[in-house]
């Protein structure tokens, strides 16, 4: 049987030489992402801004204007409508109800669903949720804390296992991945809810995973070819691990594509974020983090450097480079 080889044997792409272009592109895209987030903002779900969300399923695709007028007639604040999944499902979002009465939000839900089912026969609610401003603040805080801790923890792990340059380059690459994903959310207006925090953390986990594999190979090659120039070592390592990088990305993308197309609309934003994250994470492993190692001045054979330093500190005789 002839087996599939996506990356031909002995592929040798000069990634390091391309890094000038790659840095330029990366920088441009990062700035674009920041601008997008700044200008368009993110479409936060009720988890993060508080308020009320009702998902309603209609028998036939409804006219959004009619739905809006029905909801607005209830006098419960300005409604935001968003189509979800198929054309028969609409998400209605309402601001936090200004009332001390505990039953108020529930009454709103009943009022709105009641009015809708009178106006549109066979309309039915799929789900609803209400979040008070207090809880949403905490959810945002915890989400950001989780992301910060994950980046920090993994950076520390990389520094502990490798050289400091690996830690720094990994963290830079992850920040880049997160920026890209945020830009994607600003562009598509997908809803950013609590599940997206999980998607971000998964992207971080995957992206790191990918970088560790390449870093590990760089470290191995640094020991094997002590005389080799750092550029060559990085090129060699990235090329050697390229088949694995591509294979793994493709298998995960296949699995996620199944989830995106068949997994239902509730998970769509979540899956889309992860697919983008995998693509961006793979790109940043190849172009951002490993190329950054050169800029940060990683040198071949750091073991020797360390030995020399320790010896000089002990005031021992100066030793020359090892043969």
């Amino acid at each position: 049987m002839k087996l599939l080889k996506i990356i031909p044997d002995n592929t040798n792409i000069d990634f390091v030489r391309l890094r000038g272009w790659a840095f330029g592109l990366t920088l441009a895209l990062s700035i674009l992402a920041c601008v997008l987030v700044g200008l368009r903002g993110l479409n936060f779900g009720v988890d993060f801004v508080g308020g009320l969300m009702i998902e309603e399923r209609f028998a036939t695709p409804p006219s959004q204007d009619r739905v809006r007028s029905v909801v607005d007639a209830q006098g419960v604040g300005e409604a935001q409508l968003q189509q979800q999944g198929d054309s028969r499902t609409l998400v209605i979002r309402l601001p936090v109800q200004q009332s001390a009465d505990e039953g108020a939000t529930n009454a709103v839900v009943r009022k709105v669903t009641g009015a809708l089912s009178r106006e549109f026969p066979n309309a039915q609610f799929n789900r609803y949720s209400t979040v008070s401003g207090k809880v949403s603040g905490e959810l945002i805080r915890n989400g950001l804390l989780a992301i910060a801790l994950a980046v920090l923890g993994i950076g520390l792990f990389a520094i502990f296992r490798f050289e400091w340059q690996f830690g720094v380059s990994t963290v830079v690459a992850i920040v880049h991945d997160l920026l890209m994903t945020l830009g994607f959310f600003a562009l598509t207006r997908f809803e950013v809810d609590i599940n997206i925090i999980a998607a971000f953390l998964t992207i971080i986990g995957y992206s790191i995973n990918d970088k560790i594999v390449i870093d590990d190979r760089i470290r191995e090659n640094m020991r094997r070819y002590r005389k080799m120039d750092m550029r060559e070592i990085i090129n060699l390592s990235v090329n050697e691990t390229l088949p694995r990088t591509v294979m793994t990305s493709l298998t995960i993308l296949l699995a996620l594509a199944a989830l995106l197309l068949l997994g239902g609309h509730v998970l769509r934003g979540f899956t889309a974020a992860m697919i983008l994250g995998i693509v961006v994470g793979t790109y940043s492993s190849i172009y951002v983090s490993s190329s950054l190692l050169i800029t940060l001045g990683l040198r071949a054979d750091p073991d020797r450097e360390r030995v020399a330093k320790r010896n000089s500190m002990e005031g021992a005789e100066r030793i020359g480079p090892r043969a």
């Binding site: 505990e102 998964t202 590990d216 088949p243 793994t248 995960i252 296949l254 989830l259 239902g264």
Partner: protein, 533 residues
């Protein structure tokens, strides 16, 4: 490398088969496993899959602080009155989060302090810390401030009791398998699968159900009452159903009898009018006290107060001796039943507020499960096909590992009685993708070593050995983000993290140890000179 003793093979298969077998009950319908002699542990479905309601309740700690101050005020007043000689006090106030009062006779400072130390727990609580700070200013004014340690402990106790009361009330509603968990210092999470309209539940939990009987102060001047002023020793309370039309009434402060002395409360019907009412029975001490007070006050009205609002204020026609009472307050069957449940499940020591709520309809849940199963199956099929065309025999080994891993993850999840949520399904699909990463690493390494001209055995040996280190490091970092998600995440995110973490642990075992065993057996049996990889 080729040394793979028989006991090790048996052990690996044994572990995998047992763990996979644990998944079987969760895959069977519940009506089948219900007939088994031993109930196996199953995977629970989260509310987003099963449908149902989620409520996050928060206790109002200010409310608790105030009621603690109020009860301290009562206690101080009673103790000073009972002291011999009686200690005269005045100008009691509970403003500004502290209790202050003035001694009529400054010479009694020491006696008063002794009394106060006795009722504030001798100055030291269980934790050895004082619950109240006692200060004397201007020689005769006492100020009692609750300490933060005392407050923390009071909140903790109150939350423990509140959780119990919430559980009893929800059980009374007869809902199926609710989950009631304390969260943080002052929150309770309630999850009720299958519940579609949580209004009744919220109404029930919104009542603290503090029941009190007090005598009505008939001397109050209606004009003063309207301004919210009551005679000394009395207080003004709302009375929405007052037949006289004024929605207020003045009652005397001392409590005749309180909800603590109830032994039961049931919804019933008034004999003449057939209107719904609530029947209560008191314990012995409560019954006696009720009898004594009613005997002494025949012809006067008393107020039945729930949560500081008067429900009804009937006249005492005759002494009530039987140790039971009836509340007639213009109820419907539902509202009478609700009050009865709230009363017999005990009062909530602190008011609870719903700060987050969500409900998922059963159709959406069913759709999500079906979509999740289809997506997972397609994901497995795609990955399996892709691995096989890329690595042939070695791909097939990896595939066997993936399929077993799917079962093992479900088995471990069932064993831990874990909850599968919708993001959990996403974690599941993602794990299928990442689990083969280990095999990709190994197989690519074997390809490389073969290209460098190593023999089959050497290539396999080096491939597994070199890749293992990378796999370990990659999985540790992955696990770091999983652990953070588990610790800091809430609800659905936690469900995702659990599946991810289980998947990371099991996939290392299936993808490395298990496939190595398969490869070794193949190499040993066929002694291949070349390999197609």
């Amino acid at each position: 490398m080729l040394d793979f003793p028989r006991w090790k093979v048996a052990w690996i298969w044994g572990v995998l088969l047992v763990l996979s077998a644990l998944a079987i009950p969760s895959l069977l319908p519940e009506r089948i496993t219900a007939r088994w002699p031993i109930q196996p542990s199953r995977i629970n479905l989260g509310l987003d899959l099963a449908g149902g309601s989620y409520l996050l309740l928060e206790a109002d700690t200010n409310d608790l602080t105030n009621s603690r101050l109020e009860s301290m005020r009562e206690m101080v007043a009673t103790e000073m009155r009972r002291a011999t000689p009686r200690i005269g006090i005045g100008d009691i106030s509970t403003r500004g989060g502290q209790l202050s009062f003035l001694l009529r006779d400054p010479a009694q400072v020491d006696a008063a302090r002794e009394k106060l130390l006795a009722i504030t727990g001798g100055g030291a609580g269980l934790t050895g810390q004082r619950e109240w700070d006692i200060q004397v200013v201007d020689t005769s004014r006492f100020i009692l401030k609750p300490t933060s340690a005392g407050l923390t402990q009071a909140i903790d106790t109150a939350m423990g009791d509140a959780t119990e009361v919430v559980r009893r009330r929800i059980d009374e509603l007869g809902t199926r398998e609710p989950t009631i968990v304390r969260q943080g210092t002052n929150r309770i999470v309630v999850q009720v699968p299958g519940l579609q309209n949580p209004q009744a539940l919220k109404d029930l939990l919104g009542k603290t159900a503090r029941l009190e009987f007090k005598l009505v102060d008939t001397t109050a001047d209606p004009a003063q009452l309207a301004q919210g002023r009551a005679p000394i020793g009395s207080q003004v309370l709302p009375y929405p159903n007052n037949p006289s039309g004024i929605p207020f009434i003045a009652v005397k402060r001392p409590v005749i009898i309180s909800g603590d002395q109830l032994t039961d409360a049931r919804q019933g019907f008034e004999q003449q009018t057939n209107a719904p009412n609530v029947n209560m029975s008191f314990n012995a001490a409560g019954g006696q006290r009720f009898a004594r007070v009613t005997q002494a006050n025949i012809g006067k009205p008393f107020a039945i107060i729930v949560d500081n609002s008067v429900i009804t204020a009937p006249n005492i026609e005759s002494a009530i001796l039987g140790g039971s009472g009836v509340i007639n307050g213009g109820f419907t069957v539902d509202s009478a039943n609700q009050l009865a449940i709230a009363l017999r499940s005990g009062k909530l020591p602190v008011a609870l507020k719903v700060i987050e709520e969500s409900t998922v309809g059963p159709d959406l849940g069913r759709d999500s499960i079906r979509n999740g199963i289809i997506a997972s199956a397609v994901a497995v099929a795609l990955v399996v096909a892709f691995m096989f065309v890329t690595y042939g025999r070695f791909g097939a080994y990896a595939n066997l590992a993936v399929v077993i891993n799917v079962m093992v993850i479900l088995g471990v999840l069932a064993f831990l009685k874990g909850t599968l949520t919708l993001p959990g399904i996403a974690g599941f699909v993602l794990t299928i993708g990442t689990a083969v990463d280990a095999n990709v690493l190994i197989n690519e390494r074997i390809r490389e070593e073969r290209r460098r001209g190593r023999s089959v055995i050497q290539a396999v040996e080096l491939g597994y050995h070199e890749a293992s280190r990378t796999i370990f490091e990659a999985n540790v970092t992955h696990a770091i983000s999983g652990v953070i998600m588990f610790v800091l995440g809430s609800g659905p995110v936690k469900g995702f993290a659990v599946v991810l973490l289980i998947g990371i642990a099991t996939s290392v075992f299936t993808a490395v140890t298990f496939t190595r065993m398969l490869v070794v057996q193949w190499v040993r049996q066929t002694k291949p000179k070349t390999m197609n990889i």
